[in-house]
């Protein structure tokens, strides 16, 4: 395969990923106008954002080309997401129980 063919193949892949990310961003805007409760909306938007970020990480930032680094970033991301969950649940405790929240 020539360098020119590799370049055009790479560009095609980049374009597909770019269109996918734009489409996912559009889905987030559609979700914002759905008549669903706040928690459901938040969860749906966060899932779409995570997929968008995953596409950008794997294809734009070429993380798929380095397995060691991919695992390192994946484990770190899971750790951050778990830490976020700790924060969210505690905010419910604050809104329901703490006197200074009202």
């Amino acid at each position: 395969m020539t360098t020119e063919m590799q370049k055009s193949g790479g560009m095609k892949k980049d374009m597909v990923v770019y269109v996918c990310i734009l489409a996912l961003a559009a889905i987030q805007f559609v979700i914002a106008y759905q008549s669903i409760d706040g928690l459901q909306m938040f969860v749906r938007m966060l899932i779409v954002a995570a997929v968008e970020a995953g596409l950008a990480l794997v294809f734009f930032m070429q993380l798929s080309e380095n397995r060691g680094l991919l695992w390192f970033v994946a484990i770190f991301t899971v750790f951050v997401l778990l830490a976020m969950q700790y924060g969210w649940t505690d905010s419910f405790r604050l809104s329901a129980g703490a006197p200074w929240s009202k």
């Binding site: 370049k7 734009l22 734009f60 380095n66 680094l69 905010s91």
Partner: protein, 205 residues
Amino acid sequence: MSQAEMTMGGHSGVTAGPAFSIPTKKLAMWLFIIADTATFAACLVAYGFIRNATPNWPRPFHSITNVALMTFILVTSSLTMLMGVRAARAGDKSGALRWTFVTAAAGIIFALLHVREWLALIGEGMTLFKNPWGTGLFGAAFFGITGLHLTHVTAGVIALIVVGIRYKGGRYNADDLDILGLYWHFVDMVWMFVVPLVYLLNLAH
């Protein structure tokens, strides 16, 4: 045994290649990105925390046009950055330079749209500590998170221009553009979380 090996206690493996088999500069950028991810995650968690715990949280955004346009520009700038890096890797110096400056221009347009939005909100009476719609915490959270992101975009634009000029002068090469590209994609990636959490969840229905 060399002096260096003796200093290392005779373990020649200590001086093996860089971690994850990537250049040291690229690894440094990845470590920065990981650290910055934690910073943004902490900000977004803190934002979610106060938003959830505050009963009269404002929903001041009536239109999604501006934020949709900003999103389109930033995602497109990631594509132009990729094109620049690909051109640099293929030895097309003028193409690499052109796409790098197109990316910088997109960053500038994004920043200007952002400032325009800020000025509109300030014009409606929103400051860091108060606003006409509800809790004053909203201003601090909104300006804090979007300001942090805007700072990253501004720094990225400056870096794109500096690296572009030095690439043209021959001081930097395709690897340097590639490393800067990582930073730019990261800034784009953060925006993907800022939009739903800070803008779309606060739309006035």
